[in-house]
Amino acid sequence: MQKYLYLFRGGDARMAEMSPAEVEAHMDEWRVWMEGLAEKGQLIDGLPLKAEGKQVSKGGSVVTDGPFAEGAEIVGGYLMVNATSLEEATEMSKGCPILDAEDGHVEVRGIADM
């Protein structure tokens, strides 16, 4: 087994349009998807990320507020999973509810194993 990281982007614009009942239904979709991964022992860890943050650069001499990117480019959350190959990890990511949103996407990256 190899570890892979999913980085989630987008989907916020759609969420802002949702009614409370739809927000709850959306949350349930995520939970079902994650429970599916957990049952197969493929889920390691994951959490959403807050919108606010800092950018540190130039040897630490420059600190600015927040991610610079547009809404759909900001990483909104991450998930670490077990999979046998990048192909399998990619296939697994296709069930993610963020893909229902027009601007939602998942970046799948292998975690380097030294």
Partner: protein, 419 residues
């Protein structure tokens, strides 16, 4: 005196986010001001997004309400600070110490009281009944504009405008949130019960549209009525009768739709599917309502529902008893729908020609009323006067409000051709 609602009735109301929305909006409208309703709604909405994101990844906390309350409250405080409104609302945000306390979810009883005051605010007399209805659904029940439009089969834009109008009045006219007392209470309570009644009927009406969301309107009406039972000055015979009527009608929900999703009329429903708990509680509330003096419209309607719902079969319905209730009801409430229902029952008791004779005095109402015309057609068919039956059915079709109704009637007309 805690929030009471029979578990068997309550268990179907599994709408955490929607109900949290209504509860939180009520709490903050009480805590801050009705003037801040837009800010409050935004903050509560925001707290739900945050919660959904977090709880997608990890289990919900033991007390999700407290979490949402804290996040939404902080959001409102942030807004007030940024907007420099802290002067007028300084009590709420003056020191960190208070802020800590402010973030603790109030006790159940206080939350119920907040919602009670909110019901009266949403039914403020400056608003039209439809505005009261829509505002209640938005602020107390957590339905979105889109969902409300869908439930009422209205355009989203028109619904949005009505809610916006109602909100302007809510911000400007309502003032301090309170349950009225004395003579004021009587008048306002009547309006509140009326809104609950309309809400229920809107959901119960046998028209096209998403049945699920319509059923939810009925559930919300019942929930709001149960909230009112927590206020002793509101908990009168009329409220009990209204609850009884709603429970007895809602008992039929499981039998109202066939497997293909079509609505079934009373005679075609499988009575074994009626919800026994609803019937039991409906009966109990009808009984309790009779302990109060005088008989109200709601009580008569509850008693009628009771006869319909508890009859062993459609044929065994106690039409005579129902007719005598309608005889009284039609005097208290001479509206077309009551008159039509009475004529229908009359035809069961005294036959179709008797009922047709009775209808002669009602021509003016009948001609503008699609379902009345359809009933008249049915009665003519029953006595074998097919040409009169077809004429009336055609008139009814020309007034049908929606495609489902029209199709249903046209199918009937086809089967009548050549008779």
């Amino acid at each position: 005196m805690t929030f009471f609602m029979p578990t068997a009735v309550n268990q179907k109301l599994d709408h955490l986010f929607r109900h949290e929305y209504g509860k939180l909006v009520s709490m903050f409208a009480n805590k801050y001001s009705p003037e801040l309703i837009d800010t409050i709604e935004d903050a509560v909405q925001e707290s739900l997004y945050k919660a959904a994101k977090l709880w997608s990844f990890q289990p919900m906390p033991d007390n999700p309400s407290a979490w949402l309350y804290r996040v939404a409250n902080n959001q409102i405080i942030d807004y007030l600070r940024k907007d420099n409104r802290s002067v007028s609302y300084d009590l709420a945000i003056s020191t960190n110490h208070i802020e800590e306390e402010e973030n603790v979810l109030p006790e159940e009883r206080a939350i119920v009281d907040d919602q009670l005051r909110m019901i009266f605010a949403c039914c403020h007399p400056t608003m039209k009944p439809t505005e009261q209805l829509m505002l209640s659904l938005k602020l107390l029940c957590g339905l979105s504009v889109k969902e409300i439009a869908r439930a009422f089969l209205k355009q989203e834009e028109a619904t949005k405008r009505a809610i916006t109008r109602a909100k302007v009045k809510f911000r400007e006219e309502v003032g301090e949130l309170k349950v009225p007392i004395g003579a004021d209470l009587e008048q306002r309570l009547e309006a509140v019960l009326q809104v609950i009644y309309l809400l229920f009927n809107e959901g119960y009406k046998a028209t096209e549209g998403n049945q699920l969301i319509k059923q939810e309107l009925c559930e919300e009406a019942i929930r709001l009525a149960f909230l009112l039972t927590n206020e002793p000055s509101c908990d009168n015979g009329e409220l009990k009768a209204l609850i009884s009527m709603m429970l007895l009608k809602a008992a039929r929900f499981p039998a109202r739709i066939d497997e293909a999703g079509n609505l079934l009329t009373l005679e075609k429903q499988d009575r074994t599917k009626y919800d026994e708990d609803h019937i039991k509680w409906g009966w109990q509330f009808l009984h309790d309502s009779s302990k109060f003096e005088g008989s109200s419209v709601y009580q008569l309607e509850a008693a009628i529902s009771c006869y319909y719902t508890t009859a062993a079969s459609h044929e065994k319905t106690n039409w005579k008893a129902i007719l005598s209730l309608y005889d009284t009801l039609v005097k208290l409430k001479p509206v077309p729908v009551v008159q039509m229902s009475r004529v229908l029952v009359l035809s069961k008791v005294k036959g179709a020609s008797f009922a047709l004779n009775e209808m002669e005095g009602l021509e003016e109402i009948i001609n503008g009323n699609q379902s009345f015309l359809a009933l008249k057609a049915d009665l003519y068919a029953e006595i074998g006067d097919w040409s009169a039956a077809r004429v009336h059915l055609q008139k009814s079709i020309s007034q049908a409000l929606n495609i489902t109704e029209r199709r249903f009637l046209e199918k009937k007309l086809q089967s009548w051709i050549g008779k």
